[in-house]
């Protein structure tokens, strides 16, 4: 670890990043007004932006100070926190690229290097970033370690294998057996053993020593943050709901990419307080919430604003989503006193690693708990674990609950897949059917 790099990092952390935040604050005051269909925006948005900007900004000065790990969104990052890795989430970065409507450009770079267009767009964007060095976040530090788990998909493993090969850096993989029925004792033992076997490698790469007390402290923070996040989502049961799921897609970022750090917990405490305040005052995310909807699958990052406005103008609010719930759903399995086995239970049973019977039950409960009137399913080319089975899930839910629903075919971050006219027609038909059902 070089002294000059360390000093530079400390200077940027203490002075550079705050200065940048101040500049951003000035810029924000000149931002465009909120469309009239929406209620007042969340004040926490500003803090969220600060946290994320700071995280990406500081990452530029990290090489030589801390070891950098690129991590998948479902990986048990708590273990890395113990070794003080600076973590970057390529999925989060790809979503950012998608939200900036630059997905096609980055995907095109990867495709130009002969990666198939049929691959996940998060992966193609990340590979496009690696090949070009481009990033809307300025610059991402190169990883010293890759850490992935196939509990969200097998794709991340193939993708990280490709990076590992390209950059010649170690890849730690947490193999999470898919829960076809229920987790077996063998599954738990296997995952718990893998976690423990990672320690010597992490010690070697990071140069730091493992202490169980550190892991316990990180797990506690992680659990607290996830529970707070879960409570924030639960608060959307209120009528009117204090935020939309499109807000939640953004506020999800800290629980995904800063989980286990104090900054995430602090942030969710602030957000929870604001949400509770809005609930107590009856402030809704949209001005006149008439219909309440559930969203299934990952966000369509380049169309979040379009979709939010489309539905808000029709007095429809997304009050829950299987996607945002994923970082809160299994956290009660975590037991600080039994870290290895309980991490196996927590990370092994997340929605995308669980069978469709489980997902159907979960969706039914959410529809009931959040007083949902209709369902929108995003079928995405990029995510097979989320999309394969959706047609039958829709049928099962629509039939048994008599719930209007629609499936739209798009992609999470590659805007070339979006067909506006076709999707708008489908959504308008859905809205009509929802209104008819409720009139009837």
């Amino acid at each position: 670890m070089s002294l000059s790099a360390k000093l530079k990092y400390k200077f940027m952390k203490d002075y550079g990043a705050p200065a940048l935040m101040s500049l951003q604050g000035l810029k924000r005051r000149r931002s465009r007004p909120t469309p009239s269909a929406f209620g007042p925006p969340l004040e926490s948005n500003a803090r969220l932006k600060e946290i994320l900007t700071r995280h990406y900004y500081l990452s530029r000065f990290v090489p030589g100070v801390k070891k950098v790990a690129w991590v998948t969104s479902g990986a048990p990052v708590e273990l890395l926190r113990v070794f003080d890795f600076y973590t970057i989430y390529p999925e989060n970065h790809s979503a950012l690229v998608g939200a900036k409507k630059q997905g096609a450009e980055y995907c095109g770079i990867a495709e130009g290097d002969s990666f198939s267009q049929d691959l996940c767009s998060y992966a193609r964007i990340d590979l496009g970033h690696m090949l070009s060095g481009k990033s809307p976040a300025g610059k991402l530090p190169k990883p010293d370690l890759l850490f992935c788990s196939n509990n969200i998909c097998q794709t991340v493993l193939y993708w990280y294998k490709a990076i590992s090969q390209e950059l010649d850096i170690p890849l730690i993989h947490f193999d999470a057996p898919f829960v076809s029925d229920r987790q077996s004792e063998a599954d738990i033992r296997y995952m718990a053993q893998q976690l423990q076997d990672m320690i010597p490698i992490l010690e070697q790469v990071s140069g730091n020593v493992f202490y169980m007390s550190d892991l316990e402290a990180v797990l506690k923070r992680s659990q607290d943050s996830s529970r707070t996040w879960g409570n924030i989502l639960k608060a959307m049961q209120a009528k009117p709901a204090p935020m939309t799921i499109f807000d939640a897609f953004g506020h999800l970022a800290p629980i995904v990419s800063l989980r286990g750090l104090p900054v995430a917990q602090d942030y969710y405490n602030i957000l929870a307080e604001e949400i509770d305040d809005r609930v107590s005052k009856g402030i809704g995310a949209i001005r006149d919430e008439k219909y309440r909807l559930i969203w299934d699958n990952i966000a369509i990052w380049y169309k979040v604003r379009y979709l939010a406005t489309f539905f808000a103008e029709r007095k429809m609010n997304f009050v829950t989503a299987t996607y945002t719930n994923a970082w809160a759903e299994t956290i009660d399995h975590l037991n600080i006193k039994d870290p290895w086995n309980s991490m196996a239970r927590t990370y092994g049973q997340i929605i995308l690693n669980n069978n469709l019977k489980h997902r159907l039950g979960l969706m039914r409960r959410m529809i009931d708990d959040f007083s949902v009137d209709g369902m929108v399913m995003h079928s995405t080319r990029s995510c097979k674990p989320y999309s394969v089975g959706q047609y039958d899930l829709r049928k099962a839910i629509s039939t048994s609950l008599n719930l209007p629903s629609v499936i739209i075919d798009a992609d999470i971050a590659d805007e070339r897949v979006w067909s506006e006219q076709q999707i708008q027609t489908r959504l308008e038909a859905f809205c009509e059917s929802l209104e008819d059902t409720n009139r009837g």
Partner: protein, 405 residues
């Protein structure tokens, strides 16, 4: 001279102990058949399975790809593998998106037709995201009149934990099957492993002979033979393999020698076209083929469960197991060297993510080695399109110009 300088061999360089394999195979073959036919009679898949069913055989539909077939045999279950059933995809389109791979779609189409030959259930080994979800979709949402089983294959770089885990899930599968098929006899399992062992040895030997031009099967016949393993009883299949005559002499040199890699072999029309063009596929790295045969000759099964665990971890590198890319490349380099192939044909199933990720690195590496590569994408539809024909012809012309001496 090969078109690249350095060939790095795998650590276990005893991949094919040919003399041992030949000797053992000859003994097996002698006991089965003294008068070999020149013409290989491979039973038709549907006819064979219907006959089996009529005779009261328990048949389980098995989706791709890696599963302990010996365990099923020991329960007297015949695995009928479902890779690419022919016909139009109609029913499955109601359940699956357009961007789902045709193996998954054809598999579901087959299941939705409720085929009478499948009377013992379906087994979904864990292969990829799409097949993973298809298993739960069929079991939990669509519903079928027979039981649905799943089997997780460990992923990534293997270690002690994966070995122990595989052993435990094998045992769990055994216990699950015992509920419907009665207690498993260890003698039966041992006998099944011994049969599987013989098949593996014969398959290894045939692959070695293929690489050395020592039998007379056409490309199409060879893959029909390999794929008969997907539906035949173990003993019938071993008999069939033993009917294949391996020549002492090396055959006539073909126009060009190809290695094919991917999930499935090219369709019959492409294979016929290659036959007509005097092009020989001299080695294969297919998930439906040699990736399911151990990389080295295994010892005779003593403890059958230990044998099955060992066998799984001795299978060649495969995209669906998600091991290191470099290991896979080294393995392919070895096949390339042994088979003296002039080019590599990537037979790519549309939307197959595991293969598509690996392919990028492999194709680039092969090009660096100076090895011509042809990448054909298939949706498993029959026929040979004009475009495919033109691309193959252009590839062959390129090989004609650069075939090494």
């Amino acid at each position: 001279m090969y078109p690249f300088d350095a060939i790095v061999y795998l650590q276990r360089d005893d991949h094919y102990k040919r003399s041992d394999l030949e000797q053992r195979a000859q003994i097996d073959a002698m006991s089965i058949n003294d008068t070999k036919d020149k013409v290989l009679k491979i039973p038709d898949r549907s006819d064979y399975l219907r006959d089996q069913r009529r005779s009261g055989q328990e048949i389980m539909g098995v989706l791709p790809a890696l599963y302990p077939r010996e365990l099923l045999w020991a329960f007297n279950i015949l695995p009928a593998e479902i890779w690419d059933p022919p016909g139009e995809i109609l029913l499955a389109n109601v359940h699956l998106q357009a961007s789902i791979c045709p193996i998954v779609k054809r598999g579901l189409e087959f299941i939705l037709k409720s085929p009478e030959i499948i009377n013992s259930g379906y087994l979904f080994p864990h292969t990829c995201d799409s097949l993973q979800n298809l298993g739960t979709q069929v079991k939990d949402l669509i519903g079928v009149p027979v039981p649905v089983y799943t089997f997780y294959n460990p992923k990534g770089e293997f270690n002690k934990a994966s070995k122990r885990y595989y052993s435990e899930i094998l045992f769990n599968l055994q216990k699950t099957l015992e509920k419907s098929h009665g207690l498993l006899s260890q003698n039966q399992l041992k006998a099944a492993c011994e049969l599987g062992h013989k098949i593996d040895i014969r398959r290894q030997m045939l692959h070695a002979a293929l690489m050395e031009d020592r039998f007379d099967l056409s490309n199409r016949e060879y893959f029909q033979l390999i794929r008969a393993a997907e539906y035949m009883q173990g003993q019938d299949y071993l008999d069939l393999l033993n009917h294949v005559e391996i020549n002492e002499q090396i055959g006539v040199a073909p126009r060009a020698r190809l290695l094919v890699t991917g999930i499935l072999p090219p369709g019959d029309d492409i294979l016929n076209f290659l036959d007509e063009s005097r092009v020989r596929i001299v080695s294969e790295d297919l998930l439906s083929g040699s990736r399911r045969i151990p990389i080295v000759e295994m010892d005779q099964p003593d403890d059958p469960m230990e044998y099955l665990v060992e066998r799984f971890f001795l299978l060649p590198p495969c995209s669906t197991k998600a091991g290191g890319l470099d290991k896979r490349l080294q393995y392919l380099k070895k096949l390339i060297a042994k088979s003296r192939c002039h080019g590599v044909l990537f037979n790519t199933v549309k939307f197959c993510e595991p293969e598509l990720f690996d392919q990028h690195f492999l194709i680039k590496s092969m090009k660096v080695m100076g090895l011509p590569v042809l990448n054909l994408e298939t949706e498993l539809q029959p026929g040979l399109s004009g475009q495919e024909k033109t691309r193959i012809e252009a590839f062959l012309e390129m090989l004609d110009e650069g075939v090494p001496v």
